[in-house]
Amino acid sequence: MLRTINMKNNAIQITVVLVALLLSVQTLTAQTLAVRGKTIYTMAGDPIEDGVVLIDGKRIQRVGSATQVTIPNGCRVLEANVVVPGLIDARATIGLTGYLNQAQDQDVLERSSPIQPELRALDAYNPRERLVEWARSFGVTTVHTGHAPGEVISGQTMIAKLTGNTVNDAVIKPTAMIACTLGEGAVKHEQKSPGTRSKAVAMLRSELLAAQAYLRKIERAEEAATDSPDGENAANGKDETADSEDGEGKKSPQKPDRNLRYEALGWVLKKEMPLLVTAHRAHDISVALRLAREFEIDIVLDGAAEAYLVADAITDAGVPVIVHPTMMRSHRGSTENASMETAAKLAALGIAMAMQSGYESYVPKTRIVLFEAGIAAAYGLGFDGALRACTIDAAKLLGIDQRVGSIEGGKDADLALYDGDPFEYTTHCTATIINGEVLHEGER
């Protein structure tokens, strides 16, 4: 009896201590960080003058005017002239393309075959790559990165935060899209296929048809499995020698062996993710729209240097565009007609649009989406449009707006702090916060 009471007492004591500990931990995290900004662009309503963002661990707890949101005592406070949501780079290659530009740090393009949708970005992304730190120091916090343009299907893309020691720490979406290239960019020379646009599209269509057949086989096998009581084994492909026969001697379909390539294309065919189509010439963009209709798939246009020539068709198809870097080189070749005003023109037509750093095979090894958005701002898109295109609009296009892209309670605490207009050449990024952690401080 006595012993029981003691035990009870101990239990109560332990509980009290635990509750106290939990409370204190919660209090501590709730007070770890606050950001005070002369102007806070939340991208969810009007900008807040003299505002405060309270950060609770990895998430934003509250944002509002300094008169309404009190900064708790003991809380670390960062101050800045301008606070915006952490920038989102809607199409990058960093993490897969290293700054040294040597064979050992280039994983964006596998040249052995023109169609390889099974290549996962996840298996190549290096979160410690120097360009990750470089982009972060300008306020970039989230990237849609992965295999580069340059093959008909070069591989998969992923979405990552520019933080963490492992890809697991960084990843938001392990596979976001399948990267496809149409036009000069994917046409080969030296008598290799595809050597022409038509051949590239024929190869791509054939592969999509094969993937459709693969999906049909799986579907039939699964249907058969649910229809027949012992069909489970058949559908699982246990019997590899022959299709099993039911009582009437009719063959029931077998599930095909797993095929990573068709599986990945299957995600696109089932609309689980879009095909990311890099196409610059107007006629290549038309091909992309034609493929989307034929296979009833979702596509996202990437680059789209001549989008302004076929803007009506893009609008009618309701296809979003991740417009090429504004400062992309426009010499002879597929991008020769690029305009620094394309982003502005697409936005004016109401086309869903986001900014990107893109892929560079040489110097600079990566562009910075902040800079590209800045030039777009100056060339007709304006400050608000440009900021949207690398924050909330990019988040929506990528399907991650529940977590990032605006400064709102409950969203990830990803913020970029500047000492002036973020797009001005001479402004500095003074701090970058990802998941509530200050990962850059200084004047970059």
Binding site: L100, N101, M327, N337, A338, Y362, P364, K365
Partner: protein, 445 residues
């Protein structure tokens, strides 16, 4: 020479053309007034006057302090900013090549012989406010050839664009490189030491050639004059200082090798790119080597630029070096050349030196600072009209003038196409229409 009929055509044009703001019709004499003026080398003028006569600056000063010739065309630039035309000390526009892949040192090759002045890149450069370029062959050789200094004056031929010295000779430097770009399969070098050895041997050959010529001249003995050797002639022009060596060099040790070669053979150099210049700023200053810096958005892309930083200009300025920027177009876009200076300011360079680095510093490196690079009486009337501060992302070049002639006007659709891009912006246009050629004030595309 053609001023007479040009003026008549110009006046005729005025009768049926809408004349854009800021365009002189009077040909010879124009007053640009009420502009904010950044003369370079002199204090900025809040509201000033620039008087241009026959392609030269006649006077510059504050409003009310400069006499305005009564017969001059008056252009009101209230709200605009005037600064000197930008000078790019390192450009590859015009599609020209120097040496081929037959050997690593090719001083006989002149980019003069391969440049296309109708290349659309030149018109894009005008849209960026550039008025003078040093057009160079590439960096895939230890010495890829002779460079040329040109004005972006809408000339139809390279001879019309080339800048000449007082003797009437076409001006240019010599392009050299070290580091990894020029290392290839034999006969190209495979190491840095081999690179330097090949260059030294060739320069020693040139010294011997020069001695023979000097001896023959001293003895007035034509028989002793060596046969002309174009390659050695080119190198002798380096040794005598007639040609500045524009030396592509990135890594700190390559920069020091460049300084060592320059000292050993006594040739004039400009250090180009110098990604790691911030590591050896004191050595560069001690050698009095001018620095033409490239500003790139991120480090790397090639091994020797892995340590490139935006602060290079700032560090070199503080150490006391002469700093210019260049586009290396197509590496960076001439249309956004002002941006290079602005990013350098972001990384700690002073506004004054950053603006000089786009103008007078480059002029000095091309030995043209007596003619261009700042707005002062007697200098060429190469200037640009901006709609805002030169270091703001939102500022656009509205007009570019070369020797008083309007060569870019953003208000004209044909010119605007080059400024922003769009369908046909990369076609090599003829700078002149077939039948009509207007002087300042008329259409020129």
């Amino acid at each position: 020479m053609h001023h007479g009929w040009k003026r008549i055509l110009g006046l005729a044009a005025a009768a049926w053309l809408t004349v854009p703001v800021g365009v002189a019709l009077a040909g010879g004499l124009t007053v640009y007034k009420n502009a904010r003026i950044i003369p370079i080398g002199a204090p900025e003028i809040e509201s000033g006057v620039l008087v241009v006569r026959d392609g030269k600056i006649e006077a510059i000063g504050k409003t009310g302090e400069v006499p305005k010739p009564g017969d001059a065309e008056q252009i009101d630039l209230d709200g605009m900013t005037i600064m000197p035309g930008l000078i790019c000390t390192h450009s590859h526009l015009g599609g020209g090549w120097g040496g081929d892949s037959s050997e690593p040192i090719q001083p006989a090759c002149r980019i003069y012989d391969s440049i296309n002045v109708r290349d659309s890149g030149l018109q894009k450069a005008q849209a960026g406010g550039l008025t003078t370029l040093n057009v160079m062959p590439g960096s895939g050789h230890l010495l890829s050839g002779q460079t040329i200094y040109i004005k972006l004056n809408d000339a139809k031929t390279i001879d019309g664009a080339a800048i000449r010295n007082d003797a009437g000779e076409i001006m240019g430097g010599m392009k050299m490189a070290n580091g990894t770009n020029s290392q290839r399969q034999p006969p190209f070098p495979g190491t840095r030491a081999k690179s330097a050895a090949l260059v030294r041997q060739r320069l020693i050959d040139a010294q011997a050639y020069q001695r023979k010529i000097e001896k023959a001249e001293a003895e007035d003995d034509a028989d002793k004059m060596p046969e002309r050797d174009l390659a050695l002639e080119g190198l002798v022009e380096v040794l005598t200082g007639k040609r500045v060596v524009h030396f592509h060099t990135h890594r700190h040790d390559d920069i020091l090798t460049t300084l060592r070669l320059s000292k050993e053979f006594g040739f004039k150099i400009v250090l180009h790119h110098i990604s790691e210049g911030w590591k050896v700023a004191d050595e560069i200053v001690a050698a009095k080597a001018p620095c033409s810096v490239i500003v790139i958005d991120s480090p790397g892309g090639k091994l020797e630029a892995a340590e490139l930083l935006l602060k290079t200009g700032a560090v070199l300025e503080k150490a006391g070096a002469l700093v210019a920027f260049h586009t290396d177009d197509p590496i960076t876009d001439s249309r956004l050349f002002l941006r290079s200076a602005a990013l350098a300011v972001r990384a700690g360079m002073s506004r004054e030196k950053a603006l000089e680095a786009l103008t007078i510093a480059g002029a000095k490196m091309l030995e043209l600072d007596g003619r261009i690079g700042s707005l002062a009486a007697g200098k060429d009337a190469d200037f640009i009209v901006l709609d805002g501060d030169p270091l703001s992302v939102y500022t656009k070049v509205q007009q570019t003038f070369v020797e008083g002639k309007l060569v870019f006007d953003r208000s004209k659709p044909a010119d605007r196409l080059f400024a922003v891009g769009g369908y046909g912006a990369s076609d090599d246009h003829e700078p002149f229409s077939c039948c009509l050629e207007f002087g300042p004030g008329g259409p020129h595309h």
